[in-house]
């Protein structure tokens, strides 16, 4: 009796699993590729695309301190680098110190036109302007700083009000589109070399960097206004 009962239970479990598992898998994959997914993705793309503008973007590099390091016999320059979003709000500043009187800045300009996605229209004529790298030459201690990391969500374009779980996936798609060797003209890498006047960076100098609407990086210099 006990054995029959056990066998019946096993058979019921086998039949139930045999039906439930394929049904569950089918439902999962149907929903995954289905309507709700498409709607969510469209909405997410629209939110992310709203961050993109076909306009210039700015950043400041303020020389905060210059000191002479007796140990290495080199001038050490400290700077505060602040990026701004398209609408002018400042991002969290980055601070770095380097030796020497030259710093090279590099930007990446991405044209999203032609990105092969379902709702590509939302990205038509949209561009992304990134302050990408800073190169700090210093002999053997030469280094490069990634201001925007590859395959990350750039801070200037991160959704702030309403985070979307699809945002990282969308950015993965954007990066894949950016580096796709088949597309020859969707990015422009631009460089500027900032040299100190009189061989030394002067504290209080602000180097205003701008990625123009055509993707070119340029800079201009001004000084902090004197405090009265």
């Amino acid at each position: 009796m006990n054995m029959k009962k056990g066998l019946t239970r096993i058979l019921i479990a086998a039949v139930a699993l045999g039906i439930l598992l394929p049904a569950g898998l089918f439902a999962f994959f149907y929903l995954k590729g289905g309507l709700s997914e498409a709607i969510a993705e469209r909405k997410a793309y629209r939110s992310v695309a709203n961050q993109f503008k076909n306009a210039s973007r700015k950043a400041d590099m303020l020389v905060t301190d210059v000191s002479f390091d007796e140990h290495s016999n080199k001038l050490r320059t400290s700077v505060k680098f602040t990026e701004y979003t398209h609408n002018g709000s400042a991002l969290e500043p980055k601070y770095f110190t380097f030796n020497g009187n030259v710093i090279q800045m590099q930007s990446m300009f991405i044209k999203l036109d032609g990105m092969d996605i379902d709702n590509a229209r939302s990205l038509k004529d949209k561009t992304i302007s990134l302050f990408w790298k800073a190169f700090l030459p210093d002999g053997r201690a030469t280094k490069d700083l990634e201001l925007t990391k590859m395959n990350s969500i750039p801070e200037a374009y991160r959704l702030k009000d309403a985070e979307d779980p699809k945002e990282p996936e969308i950015w993965t798609n954007i990066w894949n589109f950016t580096v796709d060797p088949e597309r020859s003209d969707n990015i422009l890498i631009s460089n500027v070399t900032i040299r100190a006047n009189d061989r030394v960076f002067i504290p209080g100098t602000i180097y205003e960097l701008e990625i123009e609407r055509n993707g070119k990086l340029k800079y201009s210099t001004r000084f902090l206004p004197d405090r009265d």
Partner: protein, 719 residues
């Protein structure tokens, strides 16, 4: 005729219900296998980008370099050995060049007859000398630049051309990334077809030998095959292709299912022996119930082990994580939903009259268990120094058998110009453009410094290309900048764009790296080359190419395995606590388990057996097996402790009861995976042999080390 039909019908009606059930299962298996092979592509897919997922930053930088310096970076190199100055040699090179250039997917071909004017011209040219001629003038290269199309289509054609044109005094060897990738794919496909099937057959034969029942054998096979079918079907539905690691997934899932089945069968047999009225004869449900708890926790530990691989960067390991997780669940479902039906069809075994084997085992576990335990402990201690010698970054040649024609050919090409591509993008440290005469000289100095590195085979860069341009008549009248502008024009194929960006800020050095000369890891070598660039006043901006990707992958595999094993051990501590309800037993379980990776990696280090991406997860699989045995033994101990038997006696009784399933499971798995040693593909051999070693150690550790550690400092109990 009609009477024959009636007689056949009568015969069919006499067939037992069990036979009908078997028949039904066979049809079920046949249909599911047919559906699987029709709907899911089971051919291993190995591309030149199989190392990383597309969102890996290293891989993205490699793609960005390809984009910024447009060129056909995929090359098939055919090295032709012979007398370079003989007419016959040149004629054959010419025919081969023309033939290869006709193949679809081949963009252009460069050789002594397509590029330089003649051999003397090639010798005098900085570019052709580096690209086409070996250092000792004993061979020249025919280089086919290909589109990113699949090597599966081009390589067979190249092989046919090579076999047609090669002759005594004109030895041809093929190399290049597409060729190596195709060779790995072919080996994996063959191993999947041959060794997986042979392993299944061996598992089956050993199962029949151990359980002596054809129905148990059939039930095991059907349950194991169904688990594999379910796993591969779900993987297919998720759009995951069979890759370099998931190629062995079917065997792994088979073994996972087998492990549950062996313990169910042994518990069922033991229950029949113990049947004393409290348990009904052939009570399959009781056996299933008794085994399920331990099996469930075994499943959880294995599942956690595979799930831990989902968070690693290496794409093949991540795919194995997904496949293994699905397989773990499929294994327990199959083992507990399909297999018990077959037990029901089997006549219960006769009760054993004599108890002598159990008495012998009891006597052994009480008196002599310390001998194998001591041997294992000594082996583990002796293995520790070997771990440091472990090669976790093997060369591409480690994928092919030492001394084989294929490997010898690859090594020859490696010695003569390098075999693995690396791309280094540099910019001037002072921020000036590279199109000045001063920077031309500095780039030459960097070129020569890079070529002097023992790990570098050959380097092609902008100065080498420009020196070729300067050989043109009256080119000496032009300065560097003008010459560069000329070479950017469409009539010169915009050739310089492959080596300098349009703003002339960044330049690319295409390096063919040597694999045989390497002393350190690939990433260390790359760091050394970056330092050379810095010392020459350049900033290394980006690095890419297969050489770096392989180095990064080796690093990722090592860290992934360390963290994977670490996470597995942490999860195992938790599960050991749940199963044993004793901190001491849990610690004993973990310590016994640690013996497996220590011995496997240590012995591999001593034997100079490299840990490559394919064989690396073998230890995890072996640990999964070891955990199973330990959990079943500890569960059995707990059941006995609950009946009031003291600790020492419980351990002895549990081992007396379970040594047979533990060893049978070990024997079956080892026999199956030992077949992999016969493969001609070294990674498959290593995978099989490491599982054999790991499984044997794990099972022996569960039987001998675990009880000693768990019962140390406790009062000795009676037996």
């Amino acid at each position: 005729m009609f009477s024959h039909l009636i007689s056949a019908m009568k015969h069919i009606s006499r067939v037992k219900k069990g036979t009908w059930a078997l028949f039904g299962f066979f049809i079920f298996v046949a249909v599911s296998l047919a559906a699987l092979t029709t709907a899911v592509d089971l051919t291993p897919s190995v591309g030149s980008d199989f190392f990383f997922s597309s969102d890996n930053p290293n891989f993205q930088y490699a793609k960005l370099i390809m984009k910024l310096f447009p060129s056909q970076s995929s090359q098939i190199v055919i090295s032709a050995r012979g007398d370079l100055r003989s007419e016959d040699y040149i004629k054959r090179v010419s025919v081969l060049t023309d033939l290869v250039s006709l193949f679809p997917g081949v963009v252009s071909v460069k050789s002594l007859t397509a590029g330089p004017a003649n051999v003397k011209d090639a010798e005098e040219s900085h570019l052709w000398k580096r690209l086409l001629i070996s250092g000792d003038l004993s061979s020249s290269n025919i280089i086919a630049f290909t589109e990113s199309s699949s090597p599966e289509t081009i390589i067979p054609r190249v092989e046919t051309a090579v076999s047609l044109i090669s002759a005594p005094g004109f030895d041809l060897t093929i190399a290049g990334v597409p060729y190596v990738v195709e060779m790995i794919r072919r080996n994996l496909s063959r191993d999947l077809a041959v060794f997986s099937l042979v392993a299944l057959a061996v598992f089956g034969v050993v199962m029949v030998a151990v359980f002596r029942s054809i129905r148990i054998y059939l039930g095991t096979m059907i349950a194991c095959i169904e688990a594999c079918v379910l796993t591969l079907a779900v993987l297919g539905a998720m759009g995951i292709k069979i890759g370099i690691l998931t190629v062995n997934l079917a065997t792994i899932v088979f073994v996972l299912t087998l492990s549950h089945i062996i313990f169910i069968t042994h518990n069922w047999k033991n229950l029949q022996d113990d049947a004393d009225g409290s348990i009904e004869k052939n009570d399959i449900f009781a056996a299933v119930k008794m085994t399920f708890s331990a099996s469930f926790w075994c499943m959880i530990t294995t599942l956690l082990g595979f799930l831990s691989l989902l968070f690693v960067e290496a794409k093949p390991l991540r795919e194995l994580g997904i496949g293994g997780s699905i397989g773990t669940v499929a294994a327990i479902l199959s083992a507990y939903c399909i297999y018990p039906v077959f037990l029901w069809l089997v006549s219960p075994p006769k009760r054993k009259a004599a108890r002598s084997p159990a008495d012998k085992a009891r006597s052994f576990f009480i008196r002599r268990a310390w001998i194998p335990a001591s041997i294992l402990a000594l082996l583990a201690l002796a293995s520790i120094p070997g771990i440091e010698k472990l090669d976790t970054d093997p060369s591409l040649f480690a994928f092919f058998t030492k001394g084989s024609a294929l490997r010898t050919g690859l090594e020859y090409i490696d010695d003569n110009g390098g075999s693995s591509p690396l791309e280094l993008v540099v910019r001037d440290a002072e921020g000036s453009t590279l199109d000045t005469n001063k920077n031309y000289k500095r780039m030459w100095e960097l070129q020569e410094a890079l070529e002097n590195d023992p790990d570098v085979g050959s380097v092609i860069s902008l100065p080498v290309l420009m020196s070729e341009g300067q050989r043109a008549p009256l080119a000496f009248l032009l300065n560097w900048e003008t010459l560069l502008k000329w070479m950017e024009k469409p009539e010169y194929g915009r050739i310089s764009k492959s080596f300098i960006t349009s703003d002339h800020v960044s330049g690319r050095f295409l390096i063919r790296m040597k694999e045989t000369a390497r002393k350190g890891s690939r990433t260390e070598v790359v760091e050394g080359l970056k330092r050379i660039a810095i010392e020459h006043g350049f900033i290394p901006e980006m690095v890419g190419g297969l050489y770096l990707l392989q180095g990064e992958l080796a690093k990722l595999v090592t860290t992934s395995l360390i963290f994977g094993l670490g996470r597995l051990v942490l999860a195992f501590i938790l599960i050991a606590l749940i199963v044993s309800r004793s901190l001491r037993t849990s610690l004993a379980m973990v310590l016994s388990l640690v013996v497996v990776p220590v011995c496997v990696f240590g012995l591999a280090g001593y034997a100079r057996v490299p840990v490559d991406i394919i064989s690396a997860p073998a230890v995890n699989v072996a640990i999964g097996m070891g955990i199973d045995s330990m959990i079943h033994i500890v569960s059995a101990v707990r059941r006995r402790r609950a009946r009031g038997i003291d600790t020492g006696a419980s351990w002895v009784q549990a081992r007396v009861r379970l040594w047979q399933p533990v060893l049978s499971s070990m024997f079956i798995i080892c026999a199956g995976f030992a077949i992999f040693a016969l493969s001609a593909f070294p990674p498959t051999q290593r995978f099989g042999m490491e599982i054999v070693l790991g499984t044997a150690l794990a099972s022996l550790s569960a039987l001998f080390i675990l009880p000693i550690l768990a019962t140390a400092w406790t009062k000795k109990g009676g037996s």
